[in-house]
């Protein structure tokens, strides 16, 4: 079944102007049926107005074993933009 029904990742856009957001995955034989399955599984309660489906095999993921070198920058506080004075008039950025 894994060969006939590959896995697809589902992305839903909740409203116009917002980004598509990953909501989960489904099995389907091809892209057309994957869109239908995504519609039936993930948009039953009016969650969105656009669906993307992507073959899970098309996603290249980072290696959890490299999490340290990838994601722990250490004490590099200069990477945080906290050394500027932001004028009051700018408000929240």
């Amino acid at each position: 079944m894994a060969n006939e029904m590959p896995l697809w990742e589902v992305f839903i856009q909740p409203r116009n102007g917002l980004s598509h957001k990953h909501v989960g995955s489904i099995h389907a034989a091809d892209a057309v049926l994957a869109l239908q399955a995504a519609r039936d599984v993930y948009t039953r309660r009016g969650e969105g107005n656009s669906i993307w489906v992507v073959p899970s095999s098309a996603i290249t993921a980072s290696d959890p074993d490299q999490a340290g070198e990838n994601f722990e920058p250490g004490e590099k506080i200069y990477r945080h933009p906290t050394f500027y004075d932001i004028p009051e008039e700018v408000g929240h950025m």
Partner: protein, 244 residues
């Protein structure tokens, strides 16, 4: 009471097919279809509820949607024979769905112009649902018909079993006044165009049936409907008026 009878024909079609689809709940070949079929079942049952409620008002004897759904025997049911056919396998279920919704889509499209406000309201919602059901069932008929040796054989078996019941869809049934409900016979070309389009991609041939099986509109049903109604009505008959 022509309108009452015509509404019952329409409501019974939707309830019976909706119940048939709901029988798959928990038994579908994959989780995705286990959600898709009850979704479609609830679309149909929702339409049936509105129609029963309206039929009860038209009749004027105080019968509710539950009275009409749960307290009539099989000889009083007016659904066409196609919708009561048992699920058998997934190929039968998807083909039965395609046959019915390829008819109901142009039906509700025409009913959107009805002189009756309730019918126009039902049609506006149902026409979108039917478009999706055609897409869903149609894509499966194509993939099964043009799939593996076994799926093609099962789909061809389904056509052999079910096509004989499609002629009844176009029988006039109870006529109503004042353009309340569309003329079923006039919808046959639209239905055939949809079926031919799907069958062309599925590698199936639409059979020509000179003598279709009919009788549902006068209450002459197959044995299977009685079994289905027993199952569907048992709770209400054992506990009249039960709610939850």
């Amino acid at each position: 009471m022509a309108l009452f009878d015509a509404l019952l024909e329409l409501a019974d079609d939707h309830l019976v097919l909706g119940h048939r689809l709901s029988e798959w709940c928990g038994h579908a070949p994959m989780l995705e279809e286990d959600l898709a079929m009850p979704n479609m079942a609830l679309d149909l049952i929702g339409t049936a509820r509105t129609l029963y409620d309206y039929a009860g008002q038209v009749e004027g004897n105080g019968r509710s949607e539950d009275d009409l759904a749960y307290l009539r025997g099989e000889r009083e049911y007016r659904n066409c024979l196609l919708v009561e056919r048992p699920n058998r396998d997934f190929a039968h279920t998807m083909l039965r769905q395609l046959y019915f919704v390829a008819f109901m889509h142009p039906y509700w499209n025409a009913a959107a112009e009805s002189s009756d406000e309730v019918i126009r309201g039902v049609a506006g919602k149902a026409v979108k649902e039917m478009a999706y059901h055609i897409r869903h069932a149609g894509e499966w008929v194509i993939r099964l018909g043009d799939g593996t040796e076994e799926s093609a054989r099962r789909m061809a078996d389904a056509v052999d079993d079910l096509h004989i019941y499609t002629g009844e869809l176009f029988e006039a049934g109870t006529e109503t006044d004042d353009d309340v409900l569309p003329n079923r016979t006039a919808l046959q070309p639209a239905w055939e165009a949809t079926i031919d389009h799907v069958f062309g991609e599925a590698g199936l041939t639409r059979p020509i049936i000179p003598h279709p099986q009919t009788g549902g509109r006068t209450g002459l049903h197959g044995e299977d409907l009685g079994h289905m109604l027993m199952d569907m009505q048992s709770t209400h008959r054992a506990h009249p008026g039960a709610t939850w």
